[in-house]
Amino acid sequence: MSKEEKKGFLHYLYKHRFLMGRRLTQVSIMLLYIGGNIYGWNILKGNLSSSKLFDVIPLADPFAVLQMFFAGAIVAVDALIGAGIILLFYALIGGRAFCSWVCPMNMITDFANWLRVKTNIHREEWQLRITRKTRYLAIAMALTLSLILGMPAFEFVSPISILHRGLIFGMGLGWTMVLAIFLFDLFVIKNGWCGHVCPLGGFYSLVSKPSLIRVDYDYGKCTECMECVKICPESQVLHMVGKHSSLVSSGECINCGRCVEVCNDDAIYFSLRFLEKSKEAVSHEGK
């Protein structure tokens, strides 16, 4: 490797630092679960619906527990505590990081998205248009159906659960569901599932609005290349780019850090809510 190449490689790593960190986290979490099932490792047992961390700390999917409430079930304390821990973690600290750092479906939909852009399938005018608010409708439907049927309705159809359960306990015909999501994102709508439909993502969008970890944008440093908006899977949350400095306040931001990586001007970066820098008020007219 010549010096140039080496630098290029390091630069590449640097430019994908969050992406790699996320893939590593997503894959390791799944591996820990799989090891927990096959070899009885006591680090993470169960699956993303509910698990035991180090054999003591219960964790549970708060959206699943919410549906159970609507279905009329009074779940045991373990699951309640577990759901509380997860809820508080994302609501107060992580933001919607579940989607970009944990959920295995994210790897599938990101791959579909990457392929879509690489192969030029993606054209604005070819898109089927549905609103990104569909996910909130899906939440309402999940809860209503849970109430009517007396069953946690989304839990019986969730492709996310089918995927993570399948990876740990055996997939069966579950791959067809995963393929369906992949094709939907590849051909029908860009970021279709995760960015428009998924009620679990929607749930985390709603609850994680107050979270501590936030992306911050500095208009003063921005050169308006719009790379961040182009790469963002929830591009509507970057509405302020090119207009004014501000935190990304929408809960729909998944804290994936793609925008941070692609920015060549340090204009967009991870920050903590209370650390929001006072940026010089600048106008780009004079630049």
């Binding site: 099932n37 169960g46 699956n47 509910s50 079930a73 159809v157 359960r165 399948g166 069966g172 579950g174």
Partner: protein, 280 residues
């Protein structure tokens, strides 16, 4: 609107109405399909559940599909091996298994429940879908786990194909039963065909049978002649018109056997029919 001209109030209101109706339409269409699938998928009267499972729909309501019970079963120290492969009782239903998705079940003919004394599957359950109270009994005034309280199903014998009923010598199921002589007992009788041999046929007592399926697993016939069915499916019900007048606690006064009321929730099988499990 892009022309910078505000649409007349009427038009924007109409647009809003149309958008709302579209949302309603899609919700109803989606809701019906989604609901129908859930209804269809959760209807499985033949699934055999782990010990301590709440009855019927209550189980499906509470189970979060985490598989912790399955892992506890797979990783218990006493798991037997066959041809170098772990004999794991519980499975988590995946698409294609035709069981309510993600819920634990077992197929006794393949791998029965080995009736672990510490019942690790029940201990692992975080939601109470597997309820320890259903598999506990009082020992010296203290609640302790008792696997013999489990009612996963009940064994049923096919009298036509069980070879003991042909007069052949077989007691495989009887020997396999962990509650030998309680859940399965042997009834001898004269074999009129040969005149000098005896029939030694197995009988199941549903009051004691746990539904573990060790008998079904052991049965020597090609397709098991003794098999576990859910209790709601396999057992009849005499109803309150018929009383065992000769049994002490069933004095006939009117239609209602008095004792039965008091015993509700205590006798091993009555919990299956009690509706207020959740409030206990």
């Amino acid at each position: 609107m892009s022309k910078g001209r505000k649409p007349p109030v009427n038009e924007s209101r109409r647009k809003f109405l149309v958008r709302s109706m579209q949302a309603v339409g899609i919700s109803i269409l989606g809701g019906v399909v989604w609901g129908a699938f859930v209804k269809e998928n959760t209807y499985d009267p033949l699934a055999i559940r782990p010990p301590g499972a709440l009855p019927g729909d209550d189980f499906l309501k509470k189970c979060i599909k985490c598989g912790l019970c399955v892992e506890a079963c797979a990783n218990r120290p006493t798991v037997p091996y066959k041809n170098g492969k772990k004999m794991i009782t519980l499975r988590l239903a995946s698409p294609g298994d035709n069981k309510p998705l993600g819920t634990p079940y077992f197929i006794p003919r393949d791998v029965p429940c080995y009736m672990c004394e510490d019942i690790p599957c029940v201990v692992a359950c975080p939601t109470g879908a597997l309820e320890p109270d259903l598999v506990s009994s009082l020992v010296d005034g203290k609640k302790s786990l008792d696997i013999n309280k489990a009612r996963m199903g009940v064994a049923v014998i096919d009298h036509k194909n069980c070879i003991a009923f042909w007069g052949l010598q077989c007691d495989a199921c009887y020997r396999a039963c962990p509650l030998l002589d309680e859940a399965i007992y042997i009834v001898p009788s004269r074999n009129p065909r040969t005149g000098k041999h005896a029939f030694m046929v197995p009988q199941v007592d549903p009051d004691h049978c746990t539904g573990c399926g060790l008998c079904e697993h052991a049965c020597v016939t090609e397709k098991a002649a003794i098999f576990v069915l859910p209790r709601e499916v396999a057992l009849g019900k005499a109803g309150k018109h018929y009383l065992k007048g000769w049994e002490e606690h069933q004095e006939i006064n009117g239609y209602e056997p008095q004792e039965e009321k008091k015993e509700k929730g205590k006798s091993p099988e009555s919990y299956l029919n009690s509706e207020d499990l959740l409030n206990e």
